[in-house]
Symmetry: C2
DNA sequence: GGCCACGCTAAGCGACCGCTCACCTTGGGC
DNA sequence: GCCCAAGGTGAGCGGTCGCTTAGCGTGGCC
């Protein structure tokens, strides 16, 4: 596949950068627990237990429970930004790049729903500093999508009333997938990605 | 105003049905606290404090903290359903009804962002029974929107590939407003409602 | 083989959680 | 004026939380 999807990656392979092994296992356990129950409802004992370790082992690799969420959020947002950047900077018309960006981004939210849920909805549980850092990454994501739409308008390929507002709506469509998508439901991530890409092209009035 | 917006109501007037007065004050305090910090990060002491009462007073009017979330969720979803029903059953073309439904629903999510946040994102904190009850209301909301789109397709006014998927996308656009909307931001709820209504008409290929 | 650094555990600390209970105040009926 | 129901409070219970500390096992280096 020559789209940006290859960077969407699998559910667990995305954490290869986290070392040593015990730290990665704890991080993956935390992602699962946060996605299922939410950050505040998850206990450090639960995380350690899922990783097959005692509660105290967590604090050898992470200073606090919040540091776990921070690391997860940063890695997740960097992945999201990577997906959008790859699509935005590839060859092709604005319509092709926008469709690639949306379908890849939606696929990531649907397929890696566990991670995406934590990344998109647990931001408010971070402290002010970490939160500000993550928000900066999020603004960069918006900017990538806005740039594609801007290009399409400049080239006369798109018909858009409000570029900023339409960008936000496109992001809404992608992000909200993490809220409702169900792996046991009637759609595959690919199908939702294709459908939403079509809908977004309609939203921007692509010729 | 002859749209469905009149049923969108104010932020606090929506809880007039809750009596006695102390129970309503506690409920409004809980809505604010849940919206700011999330259900699990909110303490019963915080809720009672916001309502100007001692921690024990909460348990005179509500059996548990979860009952508060349950009541909030049910009233909120009933309000959402009411807004969508009003728009779906009014006079007019499918396009007019869909635009009314989306703009009213978006206005409710933007203006009553505090309530909408709790209603849309704290569902998982409910127990299985309460959660099932709320999910039924949510399916009814989807059904109202789907019916409008179905009407438009049947009348030949809309051009839609996948009615069910498009319905979900429309709901995503509306609901996600509660995640990003900021009262200090550049838009009023009315403006976002109008923009999203336009985008939705494009999504369904309205003539 | 002695030794130490490292990764981990068992036990537990202080704080705070949801919730309860014994008691207090107050306003209306007779 | 007395009484009781309704609605409130202060204190606190049992439990669990995030996190710490003292000590244990083990693999690599000389």
């Amino acid at each position: 596949m020559s789209t940006a999807e290859e960077t969407a990656g699998g559910e667990t392979s995305a954490w290869a950068e986290v070392t040593p092994d015990a730290a990665r296992r704890l991080l993956i356990a935390a992602v699962e627990a946060f996605a299922e129950r939410g950050y505040h409802a998850t206990t450090t004992r639960d995380i350690a237990g899922r990783a097959g370790m005692s509660p105290a082992a967590l604090y050898i690799h992470y200073k606090t429970k919040e540091e776990l969420l921070h690391r997860i959020s940063r890695i997740g947002h960097e992945k999201a930004l990577d997906i959008l950047r790859t699509a935005a900077h590839r060859e092709g018309t604005p319509a092709e790049r926008l469709a690639d960006a949306v379908s890849s981004f939606v696929r990531w939210h649907a397929g890696g729903r566990t991670t995406a849920r934590v990344v998109q909805y647990e931001l408010d549980s971070l402290g002010p500093d970490a939160r500000a850092e993550i928000l900066a990454l999020r603004r960069q994501c918006d900017a990538e999508v806005r740039a594609i739409i801007q290009d399409g308008v400049a080239a006369g390929d798109f018909d858009v009333l409000d570029v900023k507002g339409t960008t936000l709506a496109v992001m809404s469509l992608c992000i909200d997938v993490a809220r409702w998508f169900n792996v046991d439901g009637p759609w595959t991530p690919d199908e939702v990605g294709a459908l939403d890409a079509d809908l977004v092209l309609r939203m921007v009035g692509a010729k």
